[in-house]
Symmetry: C4
Subunit: 228 residues, 4 copies
C-alpha cells in the first residue's frame, strides 16, 4: 500500500525525460524487498543499500537513499542516479554512500541489480574468516540456487574485502577482487556486510537469501564442532 | 489476497478436463503454506518444494514450480503434474527438479501431501549425524503430534540419505530407506533438507513444524552439553 | 478478520443457555493469542493449549480444541468445557488432552486463564535442569512483570514436573507441586513445555512472555559461560 | 489501524490546553515503534518504555503507560507527562516506573526521544560485562549509523549501570554516567535493558536497532571464539 501510493506522485515530478520508463516498477520492487529484508533483521538502523539498473546507455540506477529506515522505505524516496552517482530524478535527496560500489559491481558483472545487507551472521563471518581472505562454502544443495551452479558439489568462494570509508579506493579493491574471482556471486566487506547481485532483481534477491542462509548455517555449525 | 485472486484466472485456462476439481483449493493452500514457511526461513532462495495429491487414479499432484520465490508464490503459478512429473494443466512452466521424489514418497507411503524444507537446523543436523545414517529423536512430548504416536516415550528415527543430483537414482535410495524404516515420518537429505508428508496437507504441515522444532531443539541442546 | 468473522456463527449455535455471556469475547482473545504465539514458534505442530474461565459457578472454561493448527485457530472452533472437561457448547469437537491440567491450575491458583506453550528454550531447560527439580531465575528486572513481584531482587523457582500421558495422575503431581511452591508463576513439564497463568488473560499472556524471555536468556547465557 | 483510530478520541479529551499540538502524531509514532519492537521480542511482557518530547518549555513528554502490552499499545493509552512525571493529559493512567529516567536522559542529552528495550542479548551482555563497567564496541561499519560517527574506526563505550528500584537514585547514577561518557549513544542497566535516545524519534529508533544488532553480533561472536 505504502509502496504503490507513492507511484503516482513520483511519476509526476523529478526529471521524467531522463528517467527510464520502468523506474516506478523497479522502485516499488526495491522498496518491497527492503521491507522484507528489514523484517529479517538484515537492514537494521538504516543500514544496507539496494539498487537496480533501469537503463544501460547511459547507465541509470534506481537506488535507495541514504539514512532512511528500510522498514518504511517509500517509492517516492527512491532515487535515480547516473554512473557518477548523481541524482537525476529529483532536486533533493542523498544517494547511499556506497552508490559507487553498486555502480562498480554493475559494470564489472553486467548485473541488473545489486543488494547489500548487514546481517548478524554475515558480519560475524566476514571477520572470522578475514585472515583467509574469504569464506569457502561447499557441498550444500542450497548452492544450486546460485546462477549457473548445477550441483551441490560446487565450491563457492565468497571473497572478503577490507572495509574502508574511501569509496573510490574501495571500489577499486572490489573491482580487483571481482576480477580475481570471476565465479563469485557475492563478496563480504569485513565487519560490514554482504554484497550480492543478479541479472534481475529477482535473481539478486535469491542470491542474498541463499548466501545469508549459508553463512548462518556455517556459523551455527562452527558452534557445534566437536559437540557430537 | 494474492492467493485467491489467482483462482479465477487459473480455473479458466490450462487443461481443465484433466485436472481434479479440487486443484484450485489445494493450490491455494500450498501457496499459503509456502508463504508461511518462507517467512520462517525454511524456503529461502526459491529452495524447497510442496505438493499435494489432487487425484489418485491416474495420479495427479498439485506441485510448486521450480525457481519461484516461495514468499510470493501465486496460485496461478502452481502446476498439476502426472506420475511421470509431466505438467498437465499448462503449456509452460517447469516443475521442481525434485518432483520425482515427491511422487515416490506419495507412492511408498500413500501420502496425500509432501513438503520439503531447507532450514538452517535441518541442514546442520543432516550433516552432523550423517555418519550415523539418521537422527534419533526420543522422549519429547512434541513427538505425539506425529501421526500414530501416542506417547512422548517414542523413539523416532529420521533417516539421512546422501544427496545426489541424479533424481531417478535418488528416488530409488529414498524408496529403499522408506522401506527399511516403515515408521519414519520424514527423512533428511544430507546438507540439503527435510522431507515430510501426511495423509492430508494439514498433517504434512504439522509434521514439518514438529520435525523442524525438534531438530532445532536438539541442535541447541548440543551447544549446551557439559554447560551445566 | 478470521477471528471476528466466526463470532456471529458461533453465537448462533451450540448450547447458548449453558454458555457464559462473555464466551465469544474470550474465545476471540484466545484465538488472537494463539496466532501470535504460533508466529513466535511457541505453538508449532498443533502443540500447546489455551484456556480462560468464562464462569466460576459452575466452572466453565473456553478452551482450545485438540489437534488444531494454532496459527489458524478460529473462534468457531473454540470449545466451552465444564470442570470434568466435557464440551458444553457443541455437539462435536475434542478438547485438548491436557484440559484436566488447565482445570487443576484454575482450581489450585484461582486463575482466570491458563496458557501452555512448547518453545525450543522451555523444552531445553526443562530437561537440562530436571535433576534439580526446577529452574531458579533471579536478579532480572524482567521478573518485576510477574504478578506481586516488586523488585529484580526476586528469586523465582520454576518447578519441573516429570512428563506423563496419565492425565489424572499428572494433574495430581501438578497440584502437589503447586502446593509446595505457592509463589510459583508457572511450571515446566520435562521435555514438554511451560504452563503459566494469571488472574486475567492479559496477565497470563504477560507471564508467558516473561518466562519464555527469561528461559531463552538463561539458555543463551549458559552458552557463554567461561567465554569472556 | 489501531493506532490512528484512537486519535480522534484522544484529541477530544484530557487537558488539551496543556498538551502540545503534535502530541497525537508523536503518540502514534511511539505506538507504531512499540508494536515493531514487540514483534522483534525487545518489549515482551509489558517491559520497556518509550517517550518523545512534545514541548520543551515547560517540558512535556509523550510516554508509554505502565503495564500495557507493547504489541497492542494504542494511541489513546499514551500519556503526556511533565518534568515531575505527572500526567497532564488524562485523569487516570499510570506512567512507566522509569519515567524519571527518561526525563533525566532528555535533560542531560537534550534528546528529543528516549527508547528503552529489554532484549535477550542486551540483558545477557549487560551482565557479562558488568565487571568492566561497560561494553566496548569497535570496528563495525554499523557504528556509522550512530549520530556523529563518520567511520567504522570508532570505539563506542556503552556504559553499564547497576540496576535499582530506587528511581531518583538511579536517575542520579545515570546522570553521572552520562557526564563521564559524553560520547555515549546509550547505556545498559545490568540484567535489565538498554536505553538509547536521539534528537528525533527516527534517530532514537535507528540507535536502538544499531545497538541491538551490535550486541547480538558481539554475543554470538563470543560463542565462536577459538572455534576456527
Amino acid at each position: 500500500m505504502v509502496i504503490w501510493s507513492g507511484l503516482r506522485k513520483l511519476c509526476g515530478r523529478g526529471h521524467p525525460s531522463r528517467m527510464s520508463g520502468n523506474f516506478p516498477e523497479v522502485a516499488a520492487k526495491l522498496a518491497a524487498i527492503a521491507q522484507g529484508f528489514h523484517a529479517r533483521g538484515w537492514l537494521l538502523g538504516t543500514s544496507g543499500s539496494l539498487s537496480a539498473v533501469v537503463q544501460r546507455e547511459p547507465l541509470q540506477l534506481a537506488m535507495s537513499p541514504s539514512g532512511v529506515d528500510k522498514g518504511e522505505l517509500r517509492v517516492d524516496q527512491m532515487l535515480a542516479i547516473d554512473e557518477q552517482a548523481r541524482i537525476v530524478n529529483r532536486d533533493s535527496g542523498k544517494p547511499s554512500d556506497e552508490s559507487l560500489l553498486h555502480i562498480r559491481v554493475v559494470k564489472e558483472r553486467g548485473a541488473g541489480a545489486v543488494l547489500h545487507t548487514h546481517s548478524v551472521w554475515n558480519t560475524i563471518l566476514s571477520d572470522l574468516y578475514a585472515a583467509d581472505g574469504g569464506v569457502k562454502i561447499e557441498g550444500y544443495e542450497m548452492l544450486k540456487g546460485l546462477q549457473g551452479v548445477r550441483t551441490h558439489e560446487h565450491s563457492e568462494w565468497l571473497p572478503i574485502v577490507d572495509n574502508s570509508q574511501d569509496m573510490p579506493s574501495l571500489a577499486e579493491s572490489i573491482a580487483q577482487t571481482l576480477n580475481e574471482h570471476k565465479g563469485a556471486h557475492g563478496f563480504l566487506l569485513r565487519r560490514h556486510g554482504l554484497y550480492s547481485w543478479g541479472e534481475t532483481l529477482d535473481e539478486a534477491k535469491r542470491h542474498v537469501e541463499i548466501l545469508e542462509f549459508l553463512l548462518e548455517t556455517m556459523g551455527r555449525t562452527l558452534h557445534l564442532r566437536n559437540a557430537v
